[in-house]
């Protein structure tokens, strides 16, 4: 009787062990699904000294819907997130653009401009891809970038960047010992 109990007990332990081993390998295999990339280095090819003061930022999200090949019903639906930054390129400031009279500093700032329109790969959410859109995607992404920039300008990013920039530069110059700041 005792031998039979021991036999079934051993069997149960063995089954549990096999189960754990199976689950471990099964889970490891599951993780490998989907396309993967090889480990390649990130190479710095240029280092630039810049002087950009971003003073306004626009964040937008839009749905892009495209259709082609009506017989097959090819359809693409993407949700894209875009970031637009605007401000001043202070590299354009020339020595004559800043003048001081007693305690008052006069600054001629360059024009505000769009500094970046950023849509990284992780900002694209491919919701539906019926058919293959790999050949068109580059143009679709370029179009979206232009749209985000247009939206940001329409929503007054440049005006906000100018207003905010003058306020920030005034605050900074006052903290540096000046009594007044004039923008020309």
């Amino acid at each position: 009787m005792r031998m039979i109990v021991n036999f079934f007990l051993s069997l149960a332990v063995l089954a549990a062990l096999l189960g754990i081993v199976y689950l471990y390998f099964f889970k490891r295999k599951k993780k490998k699904k989907g396309p993967m990339i090889a480990d390649t280095p990130s190479v710095v090819v240029a280092i630039n000294k810049i002087a950009e003061l971003a003073t306004a930022c626009y964040f937008g999200e839009k749905i892009i819907l495209k259709r082609k090949n009506f017989l097959l019903g090819d359809e693409l639906c993407i949700i894209a997130k875009g970031l637009v930054r605007a401000g001043y390129n202070l590299k354009e400031l020339k020595p004559g653009d800043v003048s001081i009279k007693k305690d008052v500093v006069t600054v001629r700032l360059p024009k505000v401009e769009i500094l970046d329109v950023i849509i990284n790969p992780s900002d694209w959410d491919f919701y539906v891809e019926d058919g293959n859109w790999n050949d068109e995607i580059r143009d679709i992404k370029a179009e979206a970038k232009k749209d985000f920039m247009k939206d940001a300008i329409e929503h007054g990013i440049l005006e906000k960047a100018k207003r905010n920039g003058e306020r920030k530069i005034t605050a900074l110059l006052l903290s540096l010992g000046f009594k007044g700041v004039v923008f020309s």
């Binding site: 490998k32 699904k33 989907g34 396309p35 993967m36 990339i37 090889a38 390649t40 990130s42 190479v43 090819v45 240029a46 280092i47 630039n48 000294k49 810049i50 002087a51 950009e52 003061l53 971003a54 306004a56 930022c57 626009y58 964040f59 937008g60 999200e61 749905i63 949700i79 930054r85 800043v98 001081i100 500093v105 970046d116 950023i118 990284n120 992780s122 491919f126 919701y127 539906v128 891809e129 019926d130 293959n132 859109w133 790999n134 068109e136 995607i137 580059r138 992404k141 370029a142 970038k145 939206d151 940001a152 929503h155 990013i157 906000k160 905010n164 605050a171 903290s175 540096l176 010992g177």
Partner: protein, 177 residues
Amino acid sequence: MCFRKKNSRQLLLTRERLRELTSVSDLSTTEYTVEKIVKAVDTASAFKRYLAGERKVLYSCKIYIKAGIDMKKYDPDKTEIDLSTMSISITLPKAGIISFDMPAEEQDMEYTKVGLMRRRFSATESNELLVQGEKSVYEAIHEMGILEDAERNTRDFFSAALYQLGYHIVNIKFEAI
């Protein structure tokens, strides 16, 4: 080929477009241009690869990373001015990453090879590969030394500006944290 997320069509139709315009105060002083080769690994079994052919794609990408300081964190109370000697000492916020841009127009497919019995890479799959490339560069940023360069360039920028504003002795420090 269809790549559709289940049960989320309803959500898409009711989703509102989001827009937000905010004030920032980021001074970027350094820009790194990084090149990355995104090489897809064929995860199919050796048997499948032998029978149906391989599935390969190679992208070369450029990434622009800007670093500098967030002037919103600048504390004017930490600025010390001595007008008798025309000296100034300012403490600036620690340098950080301001922007990370991996533009689509600089993601070039350099090579692709797909076996006759295998399906082409879809736009969704290509983007998944590029997301992994983006993540890999982002994780490597701190090893590139961009923040050290940003502090050096920020120091140069403020020194030049303060000398131009009439100060003779300029001391620039960065916050410890």
